[in-house]
Amino acid sequence: MTTIDTGERRRGADTRPVITELIDEATVEAIAQEAWISLVGEDEVLVPLPGEPVADPLSSWVDVVGPWTGSVVLTTGRRTAEELTRALLREHSPEVLEDEDVADAFGEIANVVGGNVKAALPGSSGLSLPDVGDAPALRNPEDVCRVDLLWRGETVSISVQGALPPLPAH
């Protein structure tokens, strides 16, 4: 039997989608707006405007593993992350916030945003538990969908970013 090499299998193995083919900024922003209203407060809106660069940044993220593999990363200033934590805790907010409280609250926002981003992606994917700290490195500038928002005048950015380096050019 003669097998004709059409190159189909090689192309299939050598390509993978980048996030901009799968989701757009408007969808990510809509997901974030819903999360804010539900978790942070009914009157809490995110304004789609880039703000000042964040001083003392803190990130929270979840990883998505599937046909597209990467992270959904929220980044804001540490003070803003603390303010978000107080907004989520409301009357349970302690006088002095522990790092653990901020990691819990800011991580949970990433979990909600990330879970909904995952649900908007095609195919079956896994979702990690949230992590908080320095943002994961950007591996492929082409594989990023980023929205810059303002909450109470402070910058909050959401980056849906691939975990893998670019494929070598042929």
């Binding site: 209203i37 539900s38 819990d104 949970e108 979990n111 909600v112 879970g115």
Partner: protein, 120 residues
């Protein structure tokens, strides 16, 4: 009625309790569990009338907890409150015996809709 709320996030457990109250279910005893294994143990020790559980948790996930409960013969009413609300996850939840899946983000109306037939 006793309701067991399982979530590894303390903040989210408080938000779930707050939303239950806002939805009008404010006269129930609440028990908290911090992961699936804790929930499994507390279903045995606390005998709740309803379990509201997150899906992704360390030690034991919510779906593993539900499967372990059903394998042991427990028929406790069980619903998920999770950030993963895709049709695939809803099908997995239903197949494992969950009554409903509330997707995060939620509000009091979502809770009222899901729970009105479950909580007296």
């Amino acid at each position: 009625m006793k309701i067991l709320i399982a979530d590894d996030s303390r903040v989210m457990r408080q938000i779930v309790i707050r939303t239950l109250r806002q939805a009008g279910f404010d006269d129930h005893e609440i028990v908290e569990a911090e992961d699936g294994a804790d929930a499994l143990a507390k279903v045995g020790s606390e005998e709740p009338d309803l379990v509201l559980s997150d899906w992704n948790m360390p030690n034991m996930t919510g779906i593993e907890c539900l499967q372990a409960l059903r394998s042991s013969g427990s028929t406790v009413p069980f619903g998920f409150v999770t950030s993963e609300g895709s049709p695939e996850m809803r099908e997995r939840a239903a197949n494992a015996g969950a009554l409903f899946l509330i997707a995060k983000p939620f509000n009091e109306d979502t809770f009222a809709d899901a729970l009105s037939g479950v909580i007296a």
